[in-house]
Amino acid sequence: MEKTELTINGAKHVVQVDDDTPLLWILRDTLGLTGTKFGCGVGVCGACTVVENGQAVRSCQIPCSAAAGRNFTTIEGLSPNGSHPCQRAWLTEEVAQCGYCQAGMIMTACALLQENPNPSDEQIDHVMSDSVCRCGTYPRMRNAIRRAAEEMRAKNR
């Protein structure tokens, strides 16, 4: 077990775990960052999504050996106090029900908006359909993403 350095939410961490340990379990078990959720372990539900360089990535699919030296943002690091436009839009649109999948959804949406500040409904559907919400918060999520996009564009105008 080698020591591995990785950056989470701007802070450097040195962890000593097996090389094949997925980032998901480093976050949850080793670093105690439980906002990122386990849902399937095979990259098809999106609950474990975190952001790297503006890209949404599935933390259950990134082994420690590959995560070394990289820089990830989790839901805990998205904003100091829930002030990210996506988080605020999520509250305004009353998206969450059980809330379990929502961290992954918010991180996916943030990455989408970073890449495409003005996504069409089809583009939103396309990207968000890689994730599962069993409570069916999709219509409100779609509205929240539109709202966050608008706010982010207004700010950058």
Binding site: V44, T74, A96, C98, G99, R134
Partner: protein, 715 residues
């Protein structure tokens, strides 16, 4: 119902300066219990000297918004400052009933919670009036303060609690008039919302206690399966694996962290023996169900045509098939158990804390009070967490490992070891007289009861019991001169249990599709035909259910008007369908659904216009959310995955082979909350589910001319 907790307070480390009022569901708590100090309510409200109001409540939060709506009810009567309300999760105690299911939380908490809030308010008013030496009638409460308008004085609740706590709790405090409600009925943000969007909401899977180990459990794929081969040495060689323990429920891999437990299980590579030839197979089960649907075992409703009714000269009939489904919540089953000697502490996302406590105590051979159950937030319940199998497993593993353990189910475990929604087959027939008027209705459901907890065989001979298990069948709301409904129980060995809206979805699917067939036979408009059949007596009784046809007509008329029903699309691949239901005679819902089919007959739900009458609305946002949620749940069961069995085991194990609706499957949804004259609030977690599937199926018929009599709808 309401008793002071002053005696209890003497022994509890609450500090002296709090006003505490306990209430226990609908059970009456006698004052004497308080005197003997036996009174330990599960639910109570507490107002602290700093003005903080806490509501300790047994209902669990699994997305239905109950923590918010219950807090609203309390805040309304207590005249509390909404921003100062905190929710605390109650624990099961002897005699408590904290289970959450049946869409009953709001209806059953409504009165006791209001009474408790009103009692506290009245005591605070008395305390203030006494201190000011004024007539208490000249005082009022608002936003966490008692006001005395004549002298323009005010006191915060916190400064009054020590005086108020010394007062007798009023037995029948006056409840507010609905016209004075300031919080109930207002769009209110979910109390847990900020925690959720910041990743701070803590679910069962997030529990971590000192010294905790992590476990994965390899279970037999079918009942009675034996291990043929496994590689214990390889599993033990996995770094971080502590032990491999054979238990009655499977083989536990115990490790220092989740990943080591997962890897250890993979390395163990258990091979189970082959299933016997007669192992459960869903195709064979379908045949049994269909054969059973032609019998008439338990008649759940039998209304003979009045004399003079014209004879049946033509009959139509159909068989409807409803499959197995998994719950598939995104948070898989999990539990932390810490067994130490004759005590056990549990942290579990559970809908059934008392059952959990009882079953774990039974396993460990200790008293239920020695099992301390902590209920966490739940990442999706849908009835699955009324089962307590995962907690029993965790307790067994903790006992064997002699350490606190978190058991986490894999997605495949969760899918394959579910408490599935049971398949059922429905036989329906309708008779017409010589003029083509419908005169008889028959609906027989062949299905299975839950087997996740033992049943009382005495009860199972009772007609009322079978009525309870066939909601949507025996309580058919339509007016036929002759009605016969029946239930035929069919043995089912695989685990099956409550699934969102329990027994209603299959029956309502069959009933609401077949009523469309009856309308078609009459060449009648399916929506107007339903309204015609809802004439006659406004209120009908069926078993223990009372159906108010006026409420059902109103939701149907609302979706007719709001959807512009008469101007529905007539293009070749588009269709519009309708369905409605009275859930247990409580919550009334109607849908109009537009679907589009492609060249390969894939169905896409484009638009849903919904109307709901759930009685008094506590939180309109919550009602809308549950409507959307139920609609999308229904889209999953209408056009996505089903569970099938071969060799005693479920064949599906992932979100790929048991598909669920995604955002791209989401239609435009319009929810209309219909003004209700029902004084009570009724549940919203389950009622939106049953009528959406038949509305989709009827829309597919309108688009393609093909009747959908088996779910899920396949191209």
């Amino acid at each position: 119902m309401i008793t002071s907790r002053r005696n209890f307070l003497k022994t509890a480390a609450f500090g002296s300066a709090s006003l505490v009022i306990g209430f226990d569901g609908l059970s009456l708590l006698k004052g004497a219990d308080a005197e003997t100090n036996l009174f330990e309510p599960s639910n109570w409200i507490r107002v602290d000297a700093d003005g903080a109001v806490s509501l300790t409540i047994g209902k669990c939060e699994m997305g239905q918004g109950v923590r918010t709506s219950l807090a609203m009810i309390l805040a309304e009567e207590l005249e509390a400052d909404w921003t100062k309300i905190r929710l605390v999760q109650a624990k099961p105690r002897p005699g408590s009933d904290l289970g959450t299911g049946g869409s009953d939380s709001i209806a059953s908490s409504w009165r006791p919670l209001r009474q408790a809030g009103a009692a506290a308010r009245e005591m605070l008013i008395t305390a203030a009036a006494t201190r000011w030496k004024v007539d208490r009638a000249s005082c009022s409460a608002a936003r966490g303060e008692i006001l005395h308008p004549p002298s323009n004085r005010r006191l915060e609740y916190g400064s009054l609690v020590s005086d108020a706590a010394k007062l007798q709790v009023p037995e029948n405090p006056p409840l507010k008039n609905a016209t004075d409600f300031k919080i109930i009925g207002q769009r209110t943000a979910r109390i847990d919302g900020p925690d959720i969007v910041c990743g701070k909401a803590r679910y069962g899977i997030d529990v971590k206690i000192p010294g905790m180990l992590y476990a994965s459990l390899e279970r037999p794929p079918f009942a009675g399966a034996k291990v043929k081969r496994m590689h214990e040495d390889k599993a033990r060689a996995v770094h971080g694996v502590r032990s491999i323990i054979k238990l009655p429920r499977g083989i536990a891999i115990i490790a220092d962290n989740t990943w080591a437990a997962i890897k250890g299980r993979t390395a163990l590579a258990v091979e189970w023996d082959d299933p016997p030839k007669d192992a459960f197979d869903s195709d064979a089960h379908w045949k049994r169900l269909e054969a059973a649907s032609h019998e008439t075992r338990f008649i759940t409703r039998d209304e003979k045509a009045p004399s003079g009714t014209a004879e049946v000269t033509k009959t139509i009939e159909a068989i409807y098939q409803y499959p197995f489904y998994a719950h598939a919540p995104v948070e898989t089953m999990n539990c932390v158990a810490d067994v130490r000697g004759n005590r056990c502490t549990i942290w579990a996302p559970t809908q059934a804390p008392e059952r959990l406590q009882k079953e774990v105590a039974k396993l460990l051979g200790i008293g239920p009070t020695n099992v301390d159950v902590n209920i966490t937030l739940i990442g999706g319940g849908f009835g699955r967490r009324l089962g307590v199998d995962y907690a029993i497993e965790a307790a067994d593993i903790s006992r064997a490992a002699q350490a606190p353990v978190q058991l986490l189910w894999s997605r495949v475990d969760d899918m394959k070891q579910g408490h599935f929604q049971a398949a059922s087959v429905h036989y329906l027939s309708a008779g017409f007289d010589a003029r083509g008027m419908p005169v008889s209705w028959k609906h027989t459901k062949a299905g299975s009861f839950h087997n996740i907890s033992p049943l009382d065989p005495k009860e199972m001979r009772d007609t009322a019991w079978y009525q309870d298990w066939s909601w949507g069948c025996y309580d058919v709301p339509y007016n036929f001169p002759a009605i016969q409904t029946a239930y035929v129980p069919v043995d089912l060995t695989v685990k099956h249990g409550p699934w969102r809206s329990v027994f209603a979805p299959s029956s309502v699917f069959a009933r609401e599709c077949f009523i469309d067939e009856v309308a078609q036979a009459r060449a009648a408009d399916p929506l107007e035909f339903r309204l015609q059949l809802l004439k006659g007596a406004d209120v009908i009784k069926a078993g223990s259910t009372t159906v108010d046809r006026r409420r059902l007509r109103r939701v149907l008329e609302t979706v007719r008007d709001k959807s512009a029903w008469d101007h529905r699309p007539v293009s070749e691949n588009r269709g519009r369908g309708v369905a409605c239901n009275a859930y247990f005679g409580r919550t009334y819902i109607a849908y109009v659904v537009d679907v589009m089919t492609d060249h390969d007959n894939n169905v896409r739900v484009e638009r849903v216009v919904a109307a709901v009458d759930c009685g008094r609305v506590v939180n309109p946002v919550g009602v809308e959310q549950q409507m959307e949620s139920g609609i999308i749940w229904g889209i999953s069961s209408a056009i996505k995955g089903e569970i099938t069995f071969r060799g005693g085991a479920a064949q599906q194990g992932t979100f790929a082979d048991f598909a669920v609706a995604r955002m791209r499957d989401t239609p435009a949804i319009e929810v209309h909350i219909v003004g209700s004259d029902a004084p009570l609030p009724f549940g919203m977690g389950e009622p939106p589910v049953p009528p959406i599937v038949p509305a989709i199926a009827n829309a597919v018929f309108a688009a393609t001319g093909m009747r959908i009599r088996r779910l899920p709808i396949r191209p």
